[in-house]
Amino acid sequence: MTDAQPSPSPPPTPPGAAPRPKRRWLRGLLREVLLPTAVLVGLLAIAVALIEGPPLQQFLYAIF
């Protein structure tokens, strides 16, 4: 009853097919470099909009 269910293993590669490439490096790049960079650019964009754009109250007034 308490026996753990075996975790589902990936389906076996059909005989003759190329082995599936590992994408861990891509995920790592996304998570460790591109995501922080995107956040940084977003923050910079907000800073630029606040500094260069119309005053905040005017901006909010235009939106709401």
């Binding site: 460790e32 470099v33 995501l35 922080p36 960079t37 956040v39 940084l40 650019v41 910079l44 964009a45 800073a47 630029v48 909009a49 606040l50 500094i51 260069e52 754009g53 119309p54 005053p55």
Partner: protein
């Protein structure tokens, strides 16, 4: 775990920023000294002088390529031990671009005179005057050049302040900056980063493009635009220039709200105070110079009266007295006209009618009463609010005020500085720049600056004076000035001759002032064929269907749209 990931992300961001910043600086991407200045010289602007390498390998400061409204300049980063370094900061009168070769601007003449005065120091006077700049830009220049080892700062605060009135672009920016000092502070530091610049450029690409051609900062361009937008008429060229000639000013509310004027005056005084404080902190002497004006130019004199200025609201009495005086003036009854026009002053709560003083002055000059005429001509200048604000800022901050006006009066014909001493309403001729330079030298002597000073009788002064006189002699009078003087003297043929001496493609394309003066002179001929033909060629060159001409139908329109609400009366 989460903290270490956050730290890792921050480190990656820092690495990205540093890598981009280093690469941009190394490869010269987004160099702020080479792009159009998005801040128009306001805080956050790129430096006026950037470090370059001279032919001998030494480091020199050179005027940044994008600061084309300032004179080209180059001076060593490391100041030679005996150098006495002066920066003259101001606007177009300091720049003096009508007299580039030979350089007859007052900073250059000051350098020559200082070489006569200073026994042990070698003067180097930098011309840091930028066309169209006011106290906001001047303050940024002062902040910058205080790091360039100055021995003296000379501030010549002139008419650029009029550009700080909304809806002119600088006026909008000035007001936004006053409302959000934190933004100014952030911009001053962040704008130095190329990464910030990159994001700013991307942000601006996303914003809608401002409409062009709806605002005009100059009376000349407003008139030209309005003129070429309509068919030719005998007054096409004359109406702007003769608008104020023997005519009563428009009765209308002040076009620039009093609150706007007051705000701009406070800003001006605050900027002068900050300049004084920064100089004091840096231990650098600073002088304020009272900027000069052409007292015989009526072009920018105030041409409106607010109804509240008329005592008891007696508008009819005011108008009748004014018209009676002007009628006598037109008829050449100078004595009677002067007396009647002086009587108009009784109708004012406080007389700030600039064109009235000018009309009275013209009558007195015709009568040969030159002392009285001089006082009337000078009244708008001496009572100008900026004159008082500069004196006040100097007194409050303990900054010496240099006033070249009394010395200018001494050399002027009948004591009335006019178009022989100014190229137009404001800009000094070389002889006037000499007077400004001498007034500054007197103050340098009085303050004992620059180490050992030679006595006035020293031969070095004679050498300097000869050099200055040689420059004055070799400086050609600008053609616009020759044309205007000829027109004012009634010699229209001479004005046409001078105008025709300019190649017509240059005239129509790049010499707007001379074009309008030529049109004015041609319009004085009874046969308007030449004026009409010239208008057709000017229209073919200048008229673009997408331009929006300003409305200039009435006197009120002219005051509002050609003379920027009479902004010169306040700034």
């Amino acid at each position: 775990m989460r903290v270490s990931r956050l730290l890792r992300s921050v480190a990656v961001c820092a690495l990205v920023v540093v890598t981009f910043e280093l690469a941009a600086r190394h490869f010269g991407w987004l160099d702020p000294t080479e792009q159009d200045d998005p801040y128009m010289g306001f805080p956050g602007t790129s430096p006026l002088y950037r470090v370059e390498r001279a032919a001998d390998g030494s480091e020199v400061f050179s005027r940044s390529p994008n600061k084309v409204n300032y004179r080209a300049a180059s001076f060593p980063v490391e100041k030679p031990p005996r150098e006495f370094r002066v920066f003259c900061v101001g606007g177009s009168s300091v720049r003096s671009d009508a007299f580039l070769a030979p350089d007859a601007s007052f900073p250059h003449l000051l350098e020559i005179y200082l070489s006569g005065l200073l026994a042990d120091r070698v003067p180097r006077v930098m011309n840091s005057g930028g066309g169209g700049t006011g106290s906001i830009q001047n303050l940024e220049v002062v902040r910058e050049v205080l790091d360039d080892q100055p021995d003296l700062l000379v501030i010549y605060p002139e008419g650029g302040e009029k550009n700080f009135v909304p809806p002119l672009p600088q006026g909008i920016m000035a007001r936004a900056d006053d409302d959000s000092p934190l933004r100014v502070f952030a911009r001053r530091y962040l704008a130095r980063l190329r990464v910030y610049d990159a994001v700013r450029l991307a942000y601006q690409e996303l914003l809608p493009r401002p409409r062009k051609g709806t605002l005009s900062a100059s009376a000349f361009s407003a008139l030209a635009l309005a003129a070429v937008a309509q068919p030719f008429s005998p007054t096409t060229f004359t109406r702007l220039f003769e608008l104020k000639q023997d005519r009563a000013p428009a009765l209308m509310p002040h076009p620039i709200p009093a609150e706007e004027v007051e705000h701009a005056h406070e800003r001006f005084e605050r900027n002068l105070a900050v300049m004084a404080e920064l100089a004091r902190e840096a231990g650098v002497p600073i002088l304020f110079v009272q900027p000069l004006r052409n007292t015989k130019s009526s072009f920018y004199l105030r041409f409106h009266i607010d109804p509240s200025e008329i005592r008891g609201g007696d508008v009819d009495g005011w108008r009748a007295a004014y018209e009676a005086g002007l009628a006598d003036k037109r008829a050449g009854r100078w004595g009677r006209a002067a007396a009647e026009l002086r009587g108009v002053r009784a109708f004012y709560v406080e007389d700030r009618d600039e064109i009235l003083a000018f009309d009275i002055a013209e009558c007195l000059e015709h009568l040969g009463r030159f002392d009285e005429a001089q006082a009337e001509y000078a009244k708008p200048y001496l009572e100008h609010p900026m004159h008082e604000l500069i004196s006040q800022a100097g007194a409050e901050q303990g900054v010496p005020i240099v006033d070249p006006f009394p010395a200018l009066v001494e050399i002027a014909d009948h004591g009335i500085p006019g178009y022989d001493l100014f190229t137009d309403a404001f800009h000094p001729m070389p002889a006037t720049s000499r007077i400004i330079a001498l007034a500054i030298v007197d103050e340098v002597r009085r303050l004992g600056l620059g180490g050992r000073q030679r006595p006035e009788s020293d031969a070095a002064f004679e050498v300097a004076e000869r050099q200055v006189q040689d420059i004055i002699q070799r400086s050609p009078t600008p053609k616009a000035n020759l044309m205007l003087r000829a027109i004012l003297a009634g010699d229209y043929d001479q004005a046409v001759r001078v105008g025709r001496s300019i190649p017509e493609d240059v005239l129509l394309e790049a010499s707007l002032t001379e074009s309008l003066y030529l049109g004015w002179a041609l319009s004085k001929s009874p046969d308007l064929t030449a004026a009409r033909a010239f208008f057709a060629r000017l229209r073919a060159k200048q008229w673009k269907p997408w331009l929006v001409p300003p409305k200039l139908d009435t006197d009120e329109d002219m005051v509002r749209n050609a003379f920027a609400g009479d902004s010169f009366a306040w700034f």
